[in-house]
Assembly symmetry: T
Homo-oligomer: 149 residues x 12
């Protein structure tokens, strides 16, 4: 069965506990459960990881090179600052979708620039926890287009 | 039943006939059919419109103010140039999702700036025709969150 | 009797119905009536037009070249994006005043740049519907300075 | 009776004597007389002051805090350079209108940026001495909207 | 016989009637006649269209996709602002030449940037009505190089 | 008979021998022959010069001041860097046309800026060797408009 | 006893009377008293001055050259605009600390640039009236480091 | 007793051993002792941490959310590059003061921009080790204003 | 006899007493004497004024309008910040020369921009006190070219 | 014997396994062997380290302060983003050479800016694995210039 | 006797023959004579050179290294574009004065930036041929201050 | 035997005689001898040329097209200004290495931008004369990789 890595960047461990007006009330555990449910429907398997350490995220991507078919990543603040994460995504050559809980294009100017997105299949932003489920659907459709239109 | 307006901007009438390496082989008719199918599953009704005329798109948005609950819009080239379309979206106060077939963040520099997106619920870009279905799911989840997480 | 063209750009047909905190409660009909009253006092005749279509506005300006003495224009969102409208105003060689209901200099950065204003007699912004009446007085004073000071 | 402060910044004491092609032939005395006449019609009282000293203008604004209802100000060259004048206007919390004799948006690039205007009710520019009378009408309409439309 | 579409953007209907110091005394009818004469010499057929409406120009380009071999276009003010026109030219995949009556590189700063020209075969600017005849010669040479050099 | 100077800047001596995908297969000798043929048709005389030395090009322009009626110049890389060449063209007061073999507006960003073009009659770019013949026609039409339109 | 000059720029005479949400409720008299108390504890003497006139502030700095050991200055709006004040601080060669009541780095963009700060010992911003006492402690520690660490 | 977290970013473990002309001779141990002494005077308790790892600093902030009342942070080089640290500070909602040993506004251009400071209570920079003691006083005054002025 | 006004801006009263490595050892009195000597040789009369107050400098320029033939001005820090001084110089229509003791083009970036110099006859910078004597010679040559060359 | 630290930043553990068209086929093990061979020839000893964690790299540099004479560093993506790494290199005061496998000046715009290079002895870029050997030769020549020329 | 090199850049051989409204009627021969006369008065000897070739100017500067005490240079268009000329002036270590006939600060934007001036003793601009004599006086005063003031 | 062209740009003839703190004490003759020695070791032949004339350098590159296998070039000041030299390097299609004696990335801002480097195999900067020997090794390794790793 096709495996997808779901990767969460810095501070996402706090989801649901802080700044709910910005990020909603769902915790990372809630999101993991929701995504596992959706994955079952879609016939794919998920692995989940979160870290506040850039290096840990890079290591995790490296180790997924030969075992996973794609990545759903919410890089958090690293979206805007990490060339190293970009290089890791480029080096693994894994198709990935960049997701954001909030509409990053409607916040501080510096959040509208992503160092990763031009390498991505696509980007989903602004739907709260649903950004993840839309992103998972998107990467799966990209990897396994269900029926021609 | 909740009605959603699906609005396509300039040149999208050519979908599937030109530049398939960029936009895929699906025609606007294909996309309309696919979305109507999905809408049925989601229990919402859709109206579709396409125009190469900015003014026609603005008029259509105005007429949807009292009849529709939300908008899925692919503004095409107007994304980057039309303050008038922005003002129309602001004036109607309809929640909307901005979708793009291609990953606009990976193309010409000027395509990464949207004059509309900071007013949107969210943005979906890069999944080909699936951007529309993800966008439709997104606006529906926004308007009618199906179950708490 | 001297004729003045009053021209309203995109979305101004919605005046008074949407975003009153930004644009006030007066409708376009109210403003037209107010201006006609003022015009009578000032001894000039007015023609009014509104369109959401850039092309229609340009056509209207062209047709005013030989019949009108000046223009009061609220170009709406086209203020910031339309070189074509600028060229139309330049080509007609009609003196014109640019008016805005809101204080465009206190809103989004892109609204402080007008592509038209350096061709204008002057600009009036921020007074709500009174911007139109001040603009009308301004163009009339410009065309027919009442008494030397 | 409502009192309005009319404040003129640096070099406006030379009005009518120098650069008439830019600023017209009316002197500051002429403008004062014209505005007093208009004020009488509008039922308001005016106080006038001019200075080439930024500090004097700031002191004058401070002393108007409790005695005046609004300000018509032509800040001259300080429009583009004085954060201190901006802070004074903000501190007094008096509604004010910024006026310019010439169309500042059609002159040197640096004149199109005002450090004050985003705090203002509105801006009137380009009508020569009539900019003052339009500005006075504007502040009065803002403070005492004469009749609903 | 090879057909070429000659397309004129906003305000070019006024040619010869306004701003002759900038655009010359030839009317659009004069230019059409001159180009038809030259086309006869060159052995090609022309179709001509002008509109002040961006949407009409896009529609006209779409309808030329299967019937014409190339385009000579003077996009007027849309040169600098229309991503939608750019997308239309890209989508039709028709070779085109961008022409301007005036030397756009010697006018306002914003006129030196064209949103279309990097897709064009080439650009001709500054020769008045002769820009059109040079542009027509250029597209014909591009499509049918007459003899090897 | 009217004399026109045809001036080629740095590296154009290599034409036809290097980078043909960018500049075509015609050599400078071919272009000279083609232009002489066209000049004969147009009833003008040509002088040709090429140099890789900015100073030599400037000297050549100086010496043409009293003997030539106009210049067709392909300044090569100096287009974007030489204020001295600009000053030479301004000082000679000779009408000139700037030509480029490739579409400079579709290449590196720095090639879209010309330090000369705002002094030129016009610019022709993108037609390969035909840019020269179109440029020659253009300067001749400018100097001797053949028949009124 | 070491003397320190405490200098307040434009509009600070209004402290405590206007915009308390931004600047707090303490008046300049309160701050002067508080600082005199702290100075006594620290064993230094203070002189205080406030002016809305840039020239007066410069004169005051000049006259302190031979009598004071350091300066605590809140330059108000002149922070961002006065090269003359900068030159006065440089010319006096007095060590100084720049203080701000509000966090200038969290307000309008132009407030984050100080024309003085690179000449200062340091900057304290954001603590309300406590910014002055921290600044006074800072300049005293700089001039007379109490005990080695 | 109120607890304050004192957090030191990358390279601050080297304090006192390297570049004393820039950062002084005090070691981190010296500063810790000095701050503990001051804390005792002020009646607060301190915890200290230093790391060269962004992720460790973020983890430490997370763990302080429910146990500390405020933070004194010297983010070192992360001041200018870490959106993740910014997000961590925002998420914890702890009041914090940003301190720098050197006057960051007088060094390289990139050091004058802080990604954190607009979220801070205030900033203290340039006083060497005294920046920490001033910062500690500042956060304590912010959390527990000692007596009204 | 032709009168020239010599005007010194802020901080120039300190000349010779502070920062001699930048401005030299000559005092303002020395410079005045030197210039009076040179003026005698040149057959012109001088008036001298210095102020740290922008308003006083503007007033002085106004009063020179009808009595002086030209101005030698060292505007000090106002060179880079005062639109009001610029407007005063423009309004008086007096020819003026801008002088600087130091080479302003070799100091801080902001000193290379002068808000006045494009209105000046010319600029002299970098020669210490000799900048004044060169500037005086320059304005006299401009006003009374001694003999044709 | 003189010791040199060879430090590899994020993602360089993947060398030779991914993107060989960009980085070549040599693995990090190959490069280490090659460098050890060259070091033997040059009479120096090497230590090698690689990490995807910025903090680990900083720690490694700190520990080399008293044991190594210089550093050859390929900072990977941290080249462009890490002020902390810059500060570590500055603090250790070790001479270092920055090397890149690819020609960073010919890739994305953001790769042409290095936050480290102005502190370096020099930079070598574009020679694949040979960049390391050239860099090692460079640092050795810098530390021990073999014979005068 | 002290020798000064007077160096003229591209196009200055045309002085007096072209664009007199910009550069005056004096020829280079006139200026040479005028300067030789002044040099005699000042007790210095001059050598003069002009070239349109950057390389010739650099060669001439190199050969003056051991024979001349200073340089008066009008670099013409190279002022704004030649790093090589800058490097030559730096390498010779000759004190030099940069002169311009016209007020370069009042012309095209690109003329206000000089690549040389921060290395110069000073700059004189705007006085026509008198710029040279003022520049010569300036360099002589710099090299041989006549009497203390 | 493979021939390499070693090309030196403007002012490098002065090497070893001027500014040794920046460029060292080795003369061009020393460097030539050193490189010839190294070339012998590497089994390649060198030709050397230096010129202060851009045109001469371009001519030399052209003449090397069919005789040399690669180029080591120190373009001096032309690095940052010469599009013509760039075009010459592109036209010859010779692999080249760009070398600089000093660390250009640590000097004036304008020296960090090279107009040539994105066409180069690589760049070596900062090692004094050793930059040339490293560059020669680099081009030889590029042209003839000695043994696989």
């Amino acid at each position: 069965m096709m495996r997808i890595l779901v990767l969460h960047g810095p501070n996402l461990n706090l989801l649901g506990r802080r700044e709910p007006e910005l990020y909603g009330h769902a915790t990372l555990t809630d999101i993991t459960a929701m995504l596992d449910g959706l994955a079952k429907d879609l016939g794919v398997a998920l692995d989940h990881a979160q870290s506040n350490h850039e290096g840990v995220l890079i290591d995790r991507l490296h180790s997924a090179m030969d075992t996973h078919a794609g990545v759903v990543i919410n890089p958090g603040g690293l979206t805007h600052t990490s060339v190293s994460l970009r290089d890791a995504l480029a080096a693994t050559e894994l198709p990935f979708v960049e997701v954001h809980l909030s509409n990053v294009h409607a916040r501080e100017e510096f959040r509208s620039r992503s160092l990763l997105v031009d390498l991505a299949v696509g980007q989903v932003a602004g739907f709260g926890p649903a950004s993840y489920s839309l992103g998972l659907r998107g990467i799966v459709e990209h990897l396994r287009p269900p029926h021609p239109i």
